[in-house]
């Protein structure tokens, strides 16, 4: 069994996220986005790769959408209504509510402003949305008998989720876009520790490590406060969803604390409508908002009022939120024209502006004049403050998530290639997890864990129920005394619970696999338990023996004893810390036994003919596998001994 991962979009690029994953035969499409940078066929993922016959209903088991951004949901109406996919589509409740708004808005822009041919109609959008099944956070949904999916909170935008999918024992997580640090209105991504074969994660900021957001907040508040304190007006062009709410909560809170009376305005339109969604979907916001919800809805801003066009030139300071974010047109441009020429005023710019917009011009250097068209010129004398809030996680966040989940494989999508390469290297070297960066239309094959069901015998189950721990003591030398030890350093004292180790897996042809207890096995096989003993007959030199002993080498009983005693003495001297027992016929150390060998051709002897010039005495040794190391040490010691040195006193008589 394996996981097969086909990347249709966002492979080594940002835009049109779409990944088709096949797990144990089940096919899931994660996200169905469009690329905003292209107008041709590259705008949509190449769906034909999924099925040549374009029979998507049979080739896909489900589609999962992580959040409502167009690069994640933009191609969905096209896929369902034009390409004809009719299978289930899953997304969270807020995404289901907000996605049609975004799609409709986009369609209008395409058709109304650019005059392009529309790819899908409003009807398509609403029909597509009817096929959507909404899912709640941490709700486990059984798509069919085998496929299970679950959504986890991802931060990023309202309703964004990471998805967990499991078929059989193979499991994976697709993160979509996520944020590991909370902001004022959304929480940080939150997921359980899962056993995963694969993690597919975004990597927008694959190399950036962001500093504390508090510094940015502080600068923003300081700029705004100083401006209004000086009687100026502040224009905050924002996108309708997300940033506007975050900044507004920040300001509202600050106003409340500082007891400021300067009015904050929201321009009418989408922003107000979006606020309504936020108010309904409280459970998808940050902890703080959820906590205070009982007393006050944080989106019922205390200091925020609706803006009226007549207020543009009203005297006195104020703060205004207006769409669109990049001052590309609309109300924010209208206000900008009025306020830009005054030094007291302040314009804040979002982190990213598309080239060609007023926002982009303001960001690149500080122009004194902006030419809108040949009739309109705007003097820019106001202050400009650049915001750099981003709802994506930084590289540290990606690493932290990967470290926490410890999946068996990682695939990076939704990023720029050079940065992804460096992140891939970090994941492989620091976390030791294989990592892949497929390009669009590439397929990655990943082996997955295979599980075999096995019967367990009663004895095995019983032995599993009872604790059976033992302590192992490691020798000190193995411990490195580094200043900073790795997290998985070897402990000097280890606890082992060998319940499972006592089981034996039996796989016979044609029968189901079984796990039995050690004792069962003997019964089953009608065999007795055997212990492995090692034997070795080693020679020790005995120079002076010829003076008294028989020349032919046969030792008498008393000689045998004295030899053994000599050996005992030598060994005791040599291995001072080891407990050596003298049991008359043989010496014993742990399971190691040594006795004098009198046989002429002992089967354990390797040198079969003793050298004649020096008398040699043989010791037969036996030991069990556990004491292998000790035995080798003792034997090499015996072979090195020259017992003669200690003999003379007795022999001189």
């Amino acid at each position: 069994m394996a996981i097969e991962c086909l990347v249709l979009g966002a492979g080594q690029e940002v835009g049109k996220s779409c990944v088709v994953v096949t797990i144990n035969g089940k096919r899931i499409m994660f996200d169905c986005g469009m690329h905003m940078g292209y107008d041709d066929h590259r705008r949509y993922p190449d769906f034909s790769l999924i099925s040549k016959s374009r029979d998507f209903d049979h080739s896909l088991d489900c589609v999962i959408i992580t959040h409502f951004h167009l690069d994640h949901v933009g191609a969905l109406p096209y896929f369902t209504e034009v390409c004809g996919y009719n299978g289930p589509i899953y997304m969270t409740y807020p995404t289901k509510a907000l996605a049609p708004l975004m799609l409709e808005d986009f369609r209008k822009v395409l058709v109304d402003r650019r005059g392009e041919e529309e790819q899908f109609t409003s009807l398509h959008i609403s029909q597509c949305m009817q096929k959507v099944i909404a899912i709640d956070l941490k709700q486990t949904l059984q798509v069919d008998d085998e496929l299970q999916i679950r959504a986890y909170y991802a931060g990023h935008v309202l309703g964004a989720a990471m998805f967990y999918a499991k078929v059989g024992e193979t499991a994976m997580v697709y993160t979509g876009d996520y944020n590991m640090t909370p902001d004022r209105h959304l929480g940080a991504a939150q997921i359980d520790r899962l056993e995963l074969d694969l993690l597919i994660t975004e990597s927008t900021y694959a190399t950036t490590i962001r500093d504390s957001k508090y510094a940015r907040e502080r600068e923003f508040l300081k700029a705004v406060h100083e401006c209004v304190a000086g009687g100026g007006k502040v224009l905050i062009p924002t996108f309708a969803l997300g940033r506007a709410q975050e900044l507004c909560i920040l300001l509202d809170d600050y106003w409340e604390r500082m007891n400021l009376k300067v009015p904050i305005y929201f321009s009418a339109g989408l922003t107000i409508q979006a606020n309504m969604y936020y108010k309904i979907l409280i459970s998808w916001t940050s902890q703080k908002i959820k906590e205070t919800y009982a007393t006050r809805n944080a989106f019922d801003f205390k200091h925020v009022h609706n803006f009226d066009r007549s207020l543009i030139n009203a005297p006195g300071p104020c703060v205004l939120f207006a769409t669109p974010g990049m001052i590309s047109g609309g109300f924010s441009l209208e206000v900008f024209k009025q306020w830009a020429p005054c030094e007291m005023n302040l314009i804040t710019l979002p982190g990213y502006c598309v080239a060609g917009t007023v926002g982009h011009k303001l960001m690149s250097g500080k122009p004194t004049k902006i030419v809108l068209d040949k009739d309109t010129q705007i003097d820019v004398r106001c202050q400009i403050h650049q915001l750099s809030f981003s709802p994506h996680t930084d590289s540290k966040g990606i690493m932290d998530l990967a470290r926490f989940l410890s999946p068996k494989n990682v695939i990076l999508v939704h990023g720029e290639k050079p940065k992804m390469v460096s992140l891939k290297e970090r994941i492989q070297s620091e976390l030791r997890i294989p990592c892949y960066l497929p390009a669009n239309c590439d397929t990655v094959h990943i082996p997955s864990t295979t599980y075999v069901k096995a019967h367990a015998s009663n004895a095995f189950i019983r032995s599993c129920l009872n604790p059976n721990f033992r302590f192992l003591k490691r020798s000190k030398e193995e411990n490195s005394d580094q200043v900073l030890r790795n997290t998985n350093s070897t402990a000097p004292l280890q606890v082992n619970d060998e319940r499972v180790a006592e089981g034996i897996l039996i796989m016979e042809k044609g029968k189901k696999a079984r796990v039995v207890h050690q004792d069962d096995l003997l019964l089953m096989l009608r065999q007795k338990k055997h212990d492995i003993q090692f034997g070795y007959c080693c020679a020790a030199q005995l120079d002076n023996l010829e003076e008294t002993g028989d020349r032919d080498g046969a030792l008498s009983h008393s000689d045998k004893c004295s030899c053994l005693q000599l050996l005992f003495k030598e060994l005791s001297n040599y291995f001072s810390g080891v407990n050596i027992q003298d049991l008359g016929e043989h010496l014993q150390v742990e399971s190691f036994q040594v006795s004098v060998c009198l046989k002429d051709n002992c089967p354990y002897r390797i040198i079969d003919s003793p050298r004649k010039e020096a008398a040699t005495i043989f010791f037969c040794c036996s030991w069990s596998a556990a004491d292998e190391k000790l035995a080798r040490e003792i034997i090499s010691a015996i072979e090195r001994f020259n017992l003669s040195d200690n003999l003379p006193c007795k022999n001189s008589k």
Binding site: Q190, R218, M258, F404, F471, P492, V495
Partner: protein
């Protein structure tokens, strides 16, 4: 009714074939928990239950119910508990096949008795643990392990083994058990055992269950600290770093509980290398650290991996979504900020940003951390911080504002610009919240005094605003003007106020606001002193009066600083508790600990005695500062400071006799200084000169304390002994200087004796005699030569001032405390000793003597009333020599038993003051010299033997 109910129940229970019905058991329970149920009924219930407990036919649930009933019974009728205990013990339950039942029985045992009562066999416990197939039984056993009185080693083995259990709750219970065991750490002398346990906990940090992970963090922290304690020198810091880094790896956990636990633990690790700390507040791996490591042990790559595991740990904590985590992170950060300047500088920016947090508790915690830094003089505010910092002065929450102002009192600003910004912020605070006036004034006063130059600048700038307009109308009701005046009057008190002249008329303006200002500054000066100071300054046309000014109001910065240092714990922590659900679980660190900590980097190997001595000397140094307050007539403030010292002293713990000697000495010294302070008020400032009686009382008490100081401690160095003697001399001089008290010859005699003694010591140690003694000596000679009743007011008290100011007393030798403990075993008002009127009675006494040598003459005093005291000489030679600690039982005879039904004796042990003059004996056989008592009198109750 009761009997009826009982009858039915018992019938049902006695039916051996059927298990008792639930209904019957429920009725029994109602009987048991009813306090009015008669004893006989209870007994029969107990009997029946005990009986049915033995039955083997019972099912598991029945056993469960019966055990529950017995437990209830034991808790309701405590006198029966031992009986119930026995019945459970004797029942075969503990040895049954079903470990479930056995475990439950053990749990019930543990629930109503303490550990020594129900010591169960270690073997039994072990076998139960191993036999317990159900996780819940194991859980019960592990949770009650400690209460069942199992041996520590056995428990340790079991706990450690069960950390491998497949059930997370069992793993958690065993970790909790290990945590509990670490208190009895002396049992584990073998460091490898500690290490093994620590490493096992480290492994469990990766557990899948969050409750296990957080328990593992606690174990890693506590056992890690044991490991740290066991290491010496550089190893100690290395170990400390290792534990710290280990816990840092948990701060990115997905569970809030685990994160909070991790940050709590981070705050407990005290010594961490600076480079590691610096890395924890930067998410990027710092380049400097890489360089530093280049000659270290790890390869560059490995180091980077390691560093990235704890990089930005605190940053993440401060950015966390949950305020509990942020708060805990702030608290831990605070512990570490004071150790390294660079770390303090960098973490300051983070803490300043926390002032913008949306949770009040977090903001307060951040301010608290800043205050802590300011106290330890490592708060270097930069301009970039000012916006947030000043913002907290305008916060809508009172508590935040007052805590912020507390920091401003201590803060040291580098330049005029920041000073101006701060003053502006304070004025805005005043403008917006007029109720803060007093506190703002006080802050301005403190700030002006510590930044005299800047304050003078500001005052010069705004003098236009202060000056009355043409019509002579002063804008004095404006709080703003009053604030500037406070700033103006504080400037001359500054040390770095060089040449900037405050126009004297400003002082006279300030006089008109005397009430308002003195009320705000009541903590620092009283109204009279302030008035004196203001009028003095307003008269002098130039600041040539500077010297006088200082003598008038020499409020020294250190004193204030010391005082506020002690405030670290109390005033802010207390309101913290009121914030309800956001209360901190983190223990506040006492200032003593912190002071120790600040120096401990250098001397982490110092032994316990040295630590105590160090703390003691810190306290002694403060006494001197407090004395400066006495001289500036702020007696109440001084007394408060002394009391704080005492409180702090009480917080020190001593384990050895030597350190407890030093502490006892310091306590005594503090008491003496308190008395001196009080007497000074009478005798020198003459504030309450008409209360001669009170003064006499104070003198009496002082004499006694000084005598104790002199005789109850041994092992003084010459300097220390000299100092004590000089204190006695000063007391004599003070007494003599008081005209109202007759210039008694005894005091004169005592003084001359002391002086000659001091001279001997001076000669011996070739030390210059102090001025005060030279003067005293001269005067004593004059008086003695004249032999007439010359007024003793000849003594010049001015020198006395210098005595306390100049002499910095510190304790360096190992002082031992002569002490005694006395007990009358088994005697109280309920159980009096019996006596027969007119016949002697023997009183058995358990006496423990500390540091008494055979030269000391000890007397047992037995006082029945004021007049009749009986002395018994304790001959130490007969009682068997002297040791450092000597324990013995002594039968004290009391002869004059009165004709009364009962009476009380007050028993004490006194020691003769060897160097004091002999007195004329009052009682035959009594002591010849004055006694110092070694402990408070003990009351012994006696009662007449009843006849028949």
């Amino acid at each position: 009714m009761e009997h009826h109910l009982l009858h039915i129940c018992l019938q049902s229970l006695k039916d051996n074939n059927n298990p008792p019905s639930l209904q019957a058991l429920a009725s029994l329970r109602s009987l048991i928990i009813n306090p009015n149920t008669s004893d006989s009924t209870i007994y029969s219930i107990l009997e029946t239950l005990t009986h049915s407990l033995q039955l083997s036919t019972n099912s598991l649930t029945t056993h469960h119910h019966i055990l529950k009933l017995l437990t209830d019974l034991a808790s309701q009728r405590t006198h029966l508990s031992s009986q119930i205990l026995n019945s459970i013990h004797s029942s075969s339950l503990l040895f049954t096949e079903s470990t479930q039942i056995a475990a439950e029985s053990l749990t019930s045992l543990a629930s109503f008795s303490n550990s020594d009562q129900n010591k169960i066999d270690d073997q039994l416990f072990m076998s139960l643990c191993f036999a317990a197939t159900s996780a819940s039984a194991r859980l019960r056993l592990l949770r009650n392990g400690e209460r069942l009185g199992i041996g520590t080693h056995m428990l340790f083995t079991v706990f450690l083994g069960f950390t491998k259990d497949p059930y997370p709750y069992v793993r958690k219970a065993s970790l909790d058990g290990l945590l509990g065991l670490c208190k009895s750490c002396d049992l584990f002398e073998d460091i490898s055992v500690t290490e093994g346990c620590y490493c096992r906990a480290v492994e469990l940090l990766q557990d899948n269950e969050h409750s296990v992970r957080s328990a593992a963090i606690r174990v890693v922290c506590e056992w890690g600290q044991m490991l740290i304690a066991a290491k010496e020198g550089n190893d100690k810091i290395a170990q400390s770093n290792q534990v710290f880094v280990q816990i840092c790896s948990m701060v990115r956990d997905m569970s809030v509980e685990v994160r909070v636990e991790a940050f709590n633990a981070l705050g407990k690790i005290k010594l961490v290398s600076e480079d590691i700390l610096l890395q924890t507040i930067s998410k990027k791996v710092l380049a400097i650290l890489k360089d530093k490591n280049s000659h270290g042990q790890c390869t560059a790559e490995r180091f980077e991996i390691l560093a990235s595991s704890y990089a930005g740990a605190f940053m993440h904590g401060l950015e966390d979504e949950f305020h509990e985590v942020r708060k805990s992170a702030c608290n831990s950060l605070r512990i570490h900020t004071i150790l390294y300047a660079e770390f303090a500088r960098r973490s300051l920016s983070l803490l300043m940003d926390m002032l913008n947090d949306d949770s009040m508790a977090v903001r307060l915690e951040a301010l608290e951390a800043l205050h802590h830094m300011a106290t330890f003089d490592c708060l270097n505010v930069q301009e970039i911080h000012m916006h947030m910092f000043l913002g907290s002065l305008l916060d809508s929450c009172d508590l935040i504002r007052s805590t912020a102002r507390k920091i401003f009192k201590l803060v040291k600003l580098p330049d005029l610009k920041l000073f101006r910004l701060s003053i502006h912020g304070l004025l805005q605070n005043l403008e917006r919240y007029s109720k803060d006036e007093a506190d703002v004034f006080s802050v301005l006063f403190f700030m002006g005094r510590s930044h005299g130059n800047f304050a003078a600048h500001i005052v010069k700038e705004v003098s236009q605003e202060i000056e009355p307009v043409l019509e002579g109308q002063l804008g004095l009701d404006s709080a703003r003007v009053a604030a500037f005046l406070v700033l103006a009057i504080s400037a001359p008190l500054s040390q770095n106020q060089n040449g900037q002249i405050i126009p004297p008329r400003l002082f006279s303006y300030a006089v008109t606001l005397l009430g308002r200002i003195s009320c705000a500054l009541s903590e620092v000066v009283d109204q009279d002193t302030l008035l004196a100071y203001l009028s003095q300054c307003s008269r002098s046309s130039t600041l040539g009066a500077e010297v006088e000014v200082e003598s008038l109001l020499p409020v020294v910065d250190d004193v204030v600083l010391n005082r506020t240092k002690k405030d670290v714990n109390n005033p802010v922590e207390a309101p913290m508790l009121q914030t309800g659900n956001e209360t901190s679980k983190v223990q506040p660190v006492t200032s003593c600990e912190l002071e120790y900590l600040a120096t401990s980097i250098v001397e982490c190997q110092a032994d316990e005695l040295d630590e105590v001595m160090k703390s003691v000397n810190l306290i002694l140094a403060r006494v001197r500062d407090a004395w400066l307050l006495v001289q500036s007539r702020c007696t109440n403030v001084a007394l408060r400071a002394l009391r704080d010292c005492k409180r702090e002293l009480a917080m020190l713990t001593s384990t050895s006799l030597e350190s407890s000697g030093a502490m006892a000495f310091t306590l005594q010294y503090l008491q003496v200084m308190k008395l001196f302070a009080k007497i000074w008020e009478h005798a020198v400032w003459k504030i309450r000169s008409n209360e001669t009686g009170g003064l006499e009382y104070l003198f009496g008490k002082l004499d006694m304390r000084l005598r104790e100081l002199r005789y109850r401690y041994i092992g003084f160095s010459t300097e220390e002994e000299l100092y004590v003697l000089e204190l006695i001399a000063v007391a004599c001089i003070l007494r003599l200087s008081k005209v109202e008290i007759s210039c008694s010859p005894t005091t004169m005699k005592k003084l001359s004796a002391i002086i000659s003694h001091i001279e001997i010591l001076n000669d011996k140690g070739s030390i210059e005699p102090s001025n005060i003694l030279m003067d005293a000596k001269k005067t004593v000679h004059e008086i003695e030569s004249s032999k007439a009743g010359i007024s003793c007011s000849l003594f010049l008290i001015t020198n006395l001032d210098d005595f306390f100011t100049l002499k910095q007393f510190s304790l360096c030798s190992r002082v031992r405390h002569i002490n005694a403990e006395l007990n009358v075993p088994g005697n109280d008002s309920e159980n009096p000793l019996r006596f027969v009127s007119g016949l002697p009675v023997a009183i058995p006494l358990d006496i423990t003597l500390y540091n008494v040598s055979s030269e000391n003459r000890l007397w047992l005093t037995m006082r029945m009333s004021e007049e009749s005291t009986q002395f018994v000489f304790l001959d130490l030679n007969i009682l068997g020599g002297c040791n450092e600690v000597k324990k013995f039982t002594f039968m004290a005879p009391f002869y004059r038993t009165p004709k009364a039904c009962s009476f009380s004796l007050w028993i004490s042990i006194g020691m003769e003051c060897a160097l004091e003059d002999c007195h004329i004996l009052k009682h035959c056989g009594g002591p010849r010299r004055d006694l110092v008592y070694l402990f408070q009198e003990k009351e012994v109750h006696l009662c007449l033997v009843r006849r028949g």
